[in-house]
Symmetry: C2
Subunit: 411 residues, 2 copies
Amino acid sequence: MVTADTKETKIEIVQGGGITSPQGFTAGGVHVGMRHDWTKLDFGLVYSETPCTTAAVYTSNTLKAAPLLLTREHLTDGKAQAIVANSGCANAATGKPGAENAVTMAKLAADKLGVEPADVVVASTGVIGTQLPMDRVAKGVAETKLTGDGGDDFAVSIMTTDTVKKQIAVSFGGWTIGAACKGVGMIHPNMATMLCFMTTDAPVEEAFLSSALKEAVDVSFNMVDIDNDTSTNDMAIVLANGLAGGDTITAGQPQAEAFQKALTLVCTSMARMMVSDAEGGTKLIETKVEGAASPADARKAAREVVTSIGVKTAIYGEDANWGRILAAIGNSGAAWSEPKTALYLRHPDGGEICLYRDGAPQEYDEAAAKACLAPAEVLVRIDLGQGTGEATAWGSDLTEEFVRLNSMYTT
Amino acid sequence: MVTADTKETKIEIVQGGGITSPQGFTAGGVHVGMRHDWTKLDFGLVYSETPCTTAAVYTSNTLKAAPLLLTREHLTDGKAQAIVANSGCANAATGKPGAENAVTMAKLAADKLGVEPADVVVASTGVIGTQLPMDRVAKGVAETKLTGDGGDDFAVSIMTTDTVKKQIAVSFGGWTIGAACKGVGMIHPNMATMLCFMTTDAPVEEAFLSSALKEAVDVSFNMVDIDNDTSTNDMAIVLANGLAGGDTITAGQPQAEAFQKALTLVCTSMARMMVSDAEGGTKLIETKVEGAASPADARKAAREVVTSIGVKTAIYGEDANWGRILAAIGNSGAAWSEPKTALYLRHPDGGEICLYRDGAPQEYDEAAAKACLAPAEVLVRIDLGQGTGEATAWGSDLTEEFVRLNSMYTT
């Protein structure tokens, strides 16, 4: 796990931390049977003692789930105090009844917690096109116990085909940011998938919280690929209750940089966890593009490489088929030229091997190339030789198991 | 196989026809050993008795193979008289030696056939990043015998992982169009893949030939997807020698519509053949979008559905997971709304079943839905209820076998 130092503030990982690590947040999760074949926790709540400044980003898919539309409406005032979430049913493409069910879900949670329905974030994840079993939602609201160490159960309750729960907490300058997320067919329509909830006890101004979240998401969740798709339910939301005190953090304020770095570290860690747990995946492919004409060009190239099915299948097969990497760059729309481009793989013993440079394939040891592709994390470094733009993207490999899982999901 | 009637001219499929069906074209193919593990024909030539008016479209990938760059240069005058092609090596990402080898390949073919090097189309397909074995190219030029029924051998000589040769010829109004193509990881970087050569004995004006080719490619090769990728070597080229006589065909001329329809039929047939033979594929997914706000919206939606990995894997698993189709539409950028959209599957016994309409999932018989997804050709019809725009796209399913093939291609 990474830590980062800012000029003034050290950011540290809270061992075993999660969404209830920041002061004033409680959470919980229960099993209510949202899917007939599930025994796992599938319903959860998060609560803050005091109202929170809140920022959110949502899916770009124009098919938007009912809970997402309701949450967006609730957050127009930038305030929230609770989260209600379920797995097993996405409540997407469910028409008017689905919209009404999302409203009821918010109301039930609000009544239990003594907050306004408009201060409740509502999230659902699971199969598209089935209606929420509202008796089970009611049961979930009634039975969930909110505790200061309930972050674990909440993180489990939002999992679908995730094989591990995904959570993190970091502390910096007396404040803490906690997070729970789910998504392994991230950015994958059927799973209606990526949810990331973050909490913090730092006092953060709303405008800065929004811009900080956008910046963190741009270099994390927006730089990962499992299967080229964008879900109908994706949301990343941060709730800041300010209970740890201190001056309000605004843009340009001394602690703004530390907060941005901490939030980015949380988002990047969550994004990597999702890709590492990708459906059927065996490897995380980290692609670092340097020397691009601009940061935007670097992003395009890095994303295209981790998205390419040719690259994903070749790396799964531990086949140093660098022509596919070059072709992905050629497909990306980034400014580049063959003679200026160099491709490298990180060797697990340290150092790198060069696959392509000066417009020509390089001589390299096949066994060494194979060794570079053997680890669970493969690092591809690309120098475009155009300028100083940099970006990193993360993708999973594509395996027979992914196809098997995704060809029989609803049945 | 489809035939089409125009107002004045009937278009007919020439049984067993191919690239040498039009008058004045000869072709051939030989085995020279471009890959150590191949015994198939892997080198071919096509020749026209007289110079041809020529039009071409090329890959949009900015990594362009040496033969493609040379061919584009040769065709700036809109004239060609011969094609030299090989499989097994793409001559892409091969730097200066690769460019020189393409020039030599054209010169060797030109010398044998008594034409100018600038009138030779050069094409290579196979692995990226290896140099052409020029002794074998020379052997291929020397040994290939050009005959009036050599179209079959030429069609075989350009195959890589294709399992069947792909050719067609159609006749209309005394003229004939013939074609040979290859590509099964179409639009797939490693295979450097899609090549389509067309010949005709119709007399066609250059400007009209270009616009007719563009129009035909837009509704055929540009509407298929196997694996989301664009190759470095893709080209579709038509050579018209005019040897069957008649008035020169220009835009607006009486035979222009018949020529356009015949060329479109050839391109569409070839595109379908490629998708039907997709690497690891078991099904062709035809997606017909109607009622779009514009033809461009229809194209976006149709292409996104056949490109979606979620849709491809679900249809492979014969799982009527219509939420993935809806999410693909939501990802496509096409104008749409849930309540106006309807999704249908064609039933093999005739008729259709409706999966989604009026903003809500429809009740349907699971067994009937399964039956719709069982055939080797699955038809998805989408009515967006916005206007009159229409488009059809074709995609393969995504299978474990695709992953297996693509994870071990170069090794």
